[in-house]
């Protein structure tokens, strides 16, 4: 009951954590799309030596344990690490960058599949209608937009629900780097079950809503 009260009474802490989680994961998704889609276009539309290795690399990276990646990023962002001088460790920026690194392979992999699924004649058709190489590539991308949208949604889902990276590089500092997953973990350990349940309900609702949206979107496309 208390958990529902926390949600529906507009508890400022619950609100703040939820908003931060959405902001951090949303920004990470935007970065992942910004980096991942051009890579996907390159993989899907160009032939180059070692293409299968690049594809294999990104496919493998999808399954990387978040704690493992979190540890690597911790070492990179820590004072003694190569990017330590930026002072990013235990900041929301660190979580954004960490989550972006985690989900970029998902974007690359799903977007590559979506672009590869576009009718190969679309590129040629666009060219015969006068499109330049880059205009034709953009046309192919537009045809794959549905798949790329799904890639973005799946990536956001993964980012908002992951714990390892946010915990390792964010540190769950109150009013600063707390996000849904890290707070649920910490508050449960502290015995603050009502807050944990409230945040878990919000997290599950977000993930559930996204999954339903994706399903509706897929059905409409058919």
């Amino acid at each position: 009951m208390k958990a529902f009260q926390l949600i529906f009474s507009g508890d400022p802490r619950v609100f703040e954590i939820t908003l931060r989680a959405l902001f951090v994961s949303g920004t990470a998704t935007a970065i992942a799309i910004f980096i991942g889609v051009p890579i996907a276009m390159l993989i899907a539309l160009k032939n180059f030596p070692g293409k299968f290795l690049v594809k294999g690399f990104f496919n493998t990276m999808i399954g990387i344990p978040t704690v493992g990646l979190g540890l690597i990023l911790f070492l990179i962002f820590s004072k003694a690490g190569p990017l330590g001088f930026f002072g990013l460790l235990y900041t929301p920026t660190a979580i954004i960058l960490g989550e972006a690194a985690l989900i970029t392979p998902i974007v690359v992999s799903l977007a590559t599949t979506a672009i590869e699924a576009v009718d190969p004649d679309i590129m040629n058709q666009a060219k015969t209608l006068g499109a330049s190489e880059s205009q034709a590539s953009i046309t192919v991308l537009q045809e794959a937009l549905g798949g790329i949208f799904l890639a973005g949604i799946a990536s956001f889902n993964r980012a908002v629900a992951e714990l390892g990276v946010a915990q390792m590089v964010g540190g769950n500092i109150e009013h600063w780097t707390e996000v849904l997953t890290t707070t649920i973990s910490l508050e449960t350990q502290k015995g603050n079950i009502a807050l944990s349940i409230a945040l878990a309900i919000i997290l599950i609702t977000i993930v559930f809503a996204i999954t339903i949206t994706v399903n509706i979107f897929q059905r409409r496309r058919k």
Binding site: D121, I122, T128, L129, G130
Partner: protein, 353 residues
Amino acid sequence: MTIIAELKGVTKTFDGITALDNINLQINEEEILALLGPNGSGKTTLLKILALIQKPTKGKICFDNVEVTDKNIEQKRLETTLVFQRTVLFSTTVYKNVAYGLKIRKTSKHEIDAEVAKALKLVGLEGFEKRQAKKLSGGEQQRVALARALAFKAKLLLLDEPTANLDPKNSSIMEEVIATVNRESKTTIVMATHNMFQAKNLPHRIALITDGKISEVGTPTEIFGRLSKTLASFAALENTFTGEALPAENGTTVVDIGNGIKIETTAQNRGKVSVFVSPEDIILSKTRFASSARNVFKGRIAEILDLGSVARLKVDVGKPFTVQITKRSFYEMGLNLNTEVYLAFKASSVQIV
């Protein structure tokens, strides 16, 4: 006569297989040139090279006497367009599909609206602007593809088997549009076809292509008049047979095409002739029925080709006949490979080519 495009010694190989072999071809301004040849003869490759979306392994392409190079290829591509045999539409509205080439050419919105409407009217799809292109029927989709190619008034319009996958109604609309565009807009057209009847009636000139080589170029009268060896050897052309034409008792003509198959025609030619029956003119049934058709043959379905809204069947009656029926009829009749069927067509549907 002005030469709008020219292929000089063009050869194209794919993994060591020669698709085109030393093609020399001139395309005259304002003409309709048909590339006539069986499937796999290199027609599509030739069109793709002319559309500048495939590079020849050897040889040159010139547009208005200027050689196409890597530097000017994108500029030259603006002067030509290709409508693929298999319809390729963008996943958007009919309007956006037809407007695509105009947008690329940075045409004003006002002009785009007018040209899209004009092109859609030409192909008989007025008011279709807001419809989703991919939700239209196969024939309508192909007409959208043609409208899209017509909208920006390319100097050279390339059509790959424009009616091959269409039902008779859509086929005749397409043929009408092709003739109108050439006549009224003076658009130069190169079209690939393996339909003898179409090649005889639509173009100003025909280039016979077989095994990647152009064997003859001439007017339809020249090509069909002398019944060239190449033409006669186009056994792979659908429903085209060669035989001896003899007078029949009822005043018609009977052409013995071999294997015991005799085709009755109303034409009065005698001696060695080639005959053609359009796949759309053949009625297919599972049982023999009384009709006015003078030609009725029994055979079995040897091949089934799914072409979207229609199915193309190869029926072996001693000689292979291609028949085109709607997909609905195909399912309703419960047809399958090896099904025994009857073919019927009128003597007046048999063309001497």
